[in-house]
Subunit: 401 residues, 2 copies
Amino acid sequence: AINGDRLWADIVATAGFGGTDKGGVTRLTLTEEDRQVRDWFIAECRSLGCTIEVDRIGNIFATYPGEDPSLPPIAVGSHLDTQPQGGRFDGILGVLAGVELIRTLKETATVLRHGLTVVNWTNEEGSRFSPAMMGSGVFSGASRLEAIEALIDRDGKTVLAALETIGYRGETAVGHVGFAAYVELHIEQGPLLEATATEIGIVTGVQGVRWFDVTITGTEAHAGSTPMAQRDDALVAASEIVLAVRDIARRHAPGVGTTGSAAVGPNSRNVVPGSVQLQIDMRHPFEAGLDQMQAALEQAIGAIDARVALSHIWSKQPVVFDPGIVDAVRASAATLGYSATEVVSGAGHDAAHIAGRCPTAMIFVPSKDGLSHNEAEYSSPEECARGADVLLQTVLQIDLK
Amino acid sequence: AINGDRLWADIVATAGFGGTDKGGVTRLTLTEEDRQVRDWFIAECRSLGCTIEVDRIGNIFATYPGEDPSLPPIAVGSHLDTQPQGGRFDGILGVLAGVELIRTLKETATVLRHGLTVVNWTNEEGSRFSPAMMGSGVFSGASRLEAIEALIDRDGKTVLAALETIGYRGETAVGHVGFAAYVELHIEQGPLLEATATEIGIVTGVQGVRWFDVTITGTEAHAGSTPMAQRDDALVAASEIVLAVRDIARRHAPGVGTTGSAAVGPNSRNVVPGSVQLQIDMRHPFEAGLDQMQAALEQAIGAIDARVALSHIWSKQPVVFDPGIVDAVRASAATLGYSATEVVSGAGHDAAHIAGRCPTAMIFVPSKDGLSHNEAEYSSPEECARGADVLLQTVLQIDLK
Ligand SMILES: NC(=O)NCCC(=O)O
Ligand SMILES: NC(=O)NCCC(=O)O
């Protein structure tokens, strides 16, 4: 079994890289804070005897050797970046659990047949550079390296320049290695496990995502002297769209729909708004559900009496994980005596990309109040340790086959 | 009659102080651009033989002497500041018309019984420092000087510091003079005159205004993994409020209601919004109408299932102008053969404050497409000249009494 206290100490220590006043973390991808936590991770893995590779998109691979160098390594991991004012667990739990697995193998002198690679994928969150799951997307072949390197943040800095600034544009070709399997431990980020008092989520897949940008053009006018009937108010139209997104999601359960961002111009109290930009996120476990939601969005926007431009900027199809690896997770939880239930991930994960390259599954642990992307995000030391124990058992089972 | 070409040349020249690429003006109060136009105004009036006074809140009074120094001056004027990306006419037309009146008196060697004072009121727009109509508000006694001096802009700079920076904290006590009358020429900023092909608006009063700030507190959560039924989405609640404001205004015609500004936190596509701040503007010609609108807003907010804090930050009661001055405007338009109609101003104006100090009325000229607080704001040279002619006739009539 892994050492839960040691894992928790790492969670507390790494929360210092970009830690906020309210106990959360702001560690956007490829920033100075990200560099610090990456350096920490590499130093820790080196001290355990791992070899380190960094690829051209900054993904880090720390490999602990196995008995048979001819076998491809088994991979575990997740991501070290966070949302702005995000939490202490989202992503980093899966990486730290990987480090804890290696420590456990080492101190028990356990030698696996396969090597064990702990991976940190670059820019899972998609906050600074869009899309999300960027490093695993390039690794899996879903995105082209050159296109991703040219993406810019709000300050106009490219991914390539950001990689070079923090010294994480590596030498290794992206997609250099095939894994025997990939298993990612992550917090649930939703309320289902807590609501059913279940210790472990056996993740059978990840729902699909579509991202849309909406631009509404109205006419700036005086808020006092422009009669209601003669207004072309971009914020009124935007509000109808926000509510339509909510209503469409309600009608397409278990789909979800969110307008996460809105920017109003000129944003002055006594001026009828002349422009609004909205950013929309829609998800559903089935592609057909996403098609229906998108069609409903297009119809709702068509029915609004305003100048609205909708653009579909990114998609990720729903993913079904490998039944063999899912079985290994189920069996591991059972062996350890933990209550477990099958779930489809509501959030996107690097595992959804890697599933296209090798047999893949995920393990969830509960999130207090279902909260994530929130500084109050919390999973207890016991919950985190249970997840790492299931991860270890799963790796051991895969290694036996 | 005034010289319309000369007036138009001044409008074109002064549009250079803070002129934008799209032919509008950004000349926020007490900025460098505001200093430039103030300096220009003072130099012009001095060259015509006016005495200049600047009071402690930066209001400028340029007085052309009359026959009888024992009589209080007649005042005309408006404001030189603009909205961000505002127009070339809002405010400055009334000040430039005053300058043109003095030029006309001077070149025709006409000496009035009363002095004629052209006033520039500080911060009519209320964009940089809230509330609007700030300088006239202190002059009329509606606001206390010390409280206004301490107001801050978004950068934390006080009104007092801004006045000192541009050298317009004058020596004259605020409210130092009583006027025989005040007449303000302004663009309509709405569509009524244009729609009825009427040349002159005889403004009988100004509708009342109430400003509200609304803070909605939601719970930040993951946009993918948080089921619709468990969300506490601040932007969804804000959208319901924006639509409620629109619906309340529609039900209380001729009242109007606008949500001009919205700020979302953390404003990231894949995070359910945790906070929204809204700025609301409601107006109605009758205080009872405003009471009903406010009650409806409170009820609508109470009915929304969200944590919402409403605060009423500013009010200006409806104002009815002096019947004698309104008659003088009506008679002047008739004498000049211009079509004219009575209107209640939808926009707020300095005249609404000054009406509490002396007999007051206003003159409107049409706005193309009813647009104002917009770079496309436009009134033709002929329309501006007609307004200035009615202003001159009105002053001559008042002077006779
Ligand atoms: N797991 C996670 O928070 N991913 C961020 C990308 C997304 O699903 O929106
Ligand atoms: N006339 C004008 O635009 N005033 C600004 C203040 C307001 O009415 O909102």
